[in-house]
Symmetry: C2
Subunit: 442 residues, 2 copies
């Protein structure tokens, strides 16, 4: 990292940044105090909200006020949200009255709705201003704590949105023209209750750098800028990946999550999946007689079951991600079924060929499977086609079912799909065995 920085002045901040994850909260506060004031500002502003919270807790009350007031209202709201009520009030009291009002309003929204993501400090223009006046007005606001001056929103007296104008458009237009002649009237906006993932989707699909957020009465309550969206996209992907891995999403980075909080997030799903897997013991018990008569059947159980789980994992993760990116919608399910049907058959056929070859080869070399080894090879091959096809279809459809039921499709985790497919895979395998081996081994 060091060679990215030109001067030596910022090295200290950079060193602290680098060592940060390894430090205790006390060491962090000490390191923070050792920074030059100019560096400390940027350093504090760049911290994650969680780190700002733990750092604030280590500081003296007078310092707390200083640093908390440095935060723009949307970031201050993120920080205050992490305090529980009695402590939260204490910190709220440290803000100046205007900022306090803004932060209280922001705290009314869930952090993951547009209203919780937006900044109320955006540049406002009136439609009848001239371009020259607008530029002069914005220029005067350059030192204000606005989120951005590069996009200005044109409002009527009721704070309703008339249009948007970029700084660049103002600069490119004649000085005497009116703002209402230059502004873009078809403005894409979002309601303040919209989920942050949906806001990110609208902004990336339309290529927007900023988007206004409207309250229930249609007034502009704030704006969301594209740099906030990077965090949203990253955070939503993290949640999805953790859910796909078969656990509840963590609220904080791995190393900063308490050990017991993390175990709790994992134990729930792990136990639920285990209860599901218990059905395999019941299913196996049903076929105990078949296993007694032909122990060789038991040997292939793990291999066949896991093939179903693996093909299901592939299909489920593909569909979950495509849904999250808006590439696939609920009503597309029948197109997916058709594709996955073909894919499942072909993938099953490939594994069936490998599996049958394996049985025949091992028989040739090690004579493990007795005189009926060809029938066993047929059983393994047919079961593999069935299990892989079933894994592929159920893995691809489970995210749809879960979303239809109103849950997050990412909950169709790979372990969940594997568990679902394991029980049915056993039934497929032993049913095929009964049909193929009847009169021979069974």
């Amino acid at each position: 990292m060091q060679d990215l920085i030109a001067g030596p002045a910022s090295l200290r901040a950079d060193e602290l940044r680098h060592a940060w994850p390894l430090l205790t909260t006390v060491e962090r506060a000490a390191g923070f105090h050792s920074l030059l004031r100019a560096e400390a500002d940027d350093f504090f502003l760049d911290l994650r909200a969680d780190d700002q919270v733990s750092l604030l807790r280590e500081l003296q009350p007078a310092e707390r006020r200083l640093w908390l007031r440095l935060l723009p209202p949307d970031d201050a709201a993120d920080v205050l949200q992490r305090f529980e009520p009695p402590e939260r009030e204490e910190y709220l009291a440290l803000l100046d009255p205007v900022a306090r009002g803004e932060v209280v309003a922001l705290l009314a929204f869930a952090e993951d709705a547009a209203g919780g993501l937006m900044s109320p400090r955006f540049a406002r223009l009136r439609p009848e201003m001239t371009v020259e006046e607008a530029i002069r007005y914005l220029r005067r606001q350059a030192n204000e704590r606005l989120e951005t001056i590069y996009y200005a929103y044109v409002l009527d007296p009721d704070q309703r949105l008339l249009g948007v104008v970029s700084f660049r458009d103002l600069f490119g237009a004649g000085s005497d023209r009116r703002v209402e002649e230059v502004m873009i009237r078809e403005v894409v906006s979002v309601p303040e209750t919209m989920d942050q993932e949906a806001v990110a989707r609208v902004m990336t699909e339309r290529g927007l750098n900023a988007i206004p957020v409207l309250d229930a009465a249609g007034r502009v309550a704030g704006i969301v800028t594209i740099d906030d969206i990077v965090d949203v996209v990253e955070q939503e992907a993290t949640e999805d990946i953790q859910k796909i891995g078969g656990m509840e999403a963590l609220d904080r980075p791995y190393l900063e999550t308490g050990l017991f909080a993390m175990i709790r997030k994992r134990a729930g799903w792990l136990s639920a999946l285990f209860l599901g897997e218990m059905l395999t013991a019941s299913a196996m018990a049903k076929y105990e007689h078949e296993i007694e008569r032909a122990v060789v059947l038991a040997l292939f159980v793990p291999m066949i079951m896991s093939s179903g789980g693996n093909s299901g994992s592939q299909a489920a993760t593909l569909i979950i991600r495509a849904m999250a990116l808006g590439e696939v919608r609920l009503r597309d399910w029948h197109r997916i079924v058709r594709r996955e049907l073909v894919a499942g058959l072909m993938l099953g056929a490939i594994l069936a060929a490998i599996g049958a070859a394996r049985v025949i080869a091992w028989q040739a070399f090690f004579h493990l499977y007795g005189p009926h080894y060809l029938l066993i090879a047929v059983t393994v091959a047919i079961s593999l086609v069935g299990v892989v096809l079933w894994g592929t279809i159920s893995g691809s459809m489970l995210p749809f079912v879960i979303q239809r039921a109103g849950f997050d499709p990412a909950s169709a985790s790979t372990p969940f799909v594997a568990t679902l497919v394991d029980v049915s895979g056993l039934i497929i395998y032993f049913t095929v065995a009964q049909l193929v081996l009847r009169g021979a081994l069974l």
Copy 2:
């Protein structure tokens, strides 16, 4: 979507955008031709590079020139990269000479390096300019096809970077001051060969909206802006999720990937995993005598194996994501081992309790497991602790091993971990059974 748009003018483009994934390439070209010219511009610019390519192929040569020239050089390079050499030359010839030179330079980089992501059209200032001159100069460039005028880079005559100044800083400064007095000298920059994921990390960690890209000689070759980073973050997460699901990452959206290309991406890993799972058949064969003497042992094989796979999936996805986000680095492995050791023991203990209770309860109700059911319960419980602990440790360490070997840690897919743990899980289970049940069942 419709209610986000104020006027009716943009509805047609919006309808096309909405129907797009469902249309054939011919229908897409027809729909595109039906748009008003003003709408068509934005529509074309907003398309993904893949869609721009397939649309360009459907257009007349004269139209191709028009639309290709509309693209800024970084986007044009993305498009041209998708054509193979003979066709690529044809399209290159459609560009004007200046743009052609820029695009050829960009094509020299892999698309996923900083050099492939940057735009060479950035705003340049000289250090001795006054603030007033700089503003006037940038204002004149507002209508030029620059990536942004909001961040301007101060260069010496050799194109070496002296500093950066935001528009906002210029506006907030006195008109008579010189740019070199106002600019920030400690500029974070990246080399043009840096991977796009690393560029995204630097920009998000430092809270930058734009970053200069330096060539090998230290000259500024272009800039990367934060809106490009949203795409990078999304794309890298998609690749990771698909790899975690146990397949090669797709190059294009799910529904736009050809069926056979998709099957190829899945078949490789699925076959490799299947070959790995074949070891379970060999491992089971080693314990064939134990299974013959106590078929009851076979019943719990799937349940115990999958518990190891599930706990391994959780640990692997946690670590893969934490590594991708830069929260965990290679040298942190020993901290992770310690945490996961405790987590694995506790999670194993929870499942062991449930598993033992299950055996005892089923025996009470259904008398399935014979007189030695308590020993069986002990075998299941001890095995579960061992298997879950082993799954947790190997799931969390596999991403480190893979990264150490120079590959993407996301290749430690959940099916890969499950396969790895399955074979060892069997060995753990039957070893525990031999120790506990010796003299009783075995």
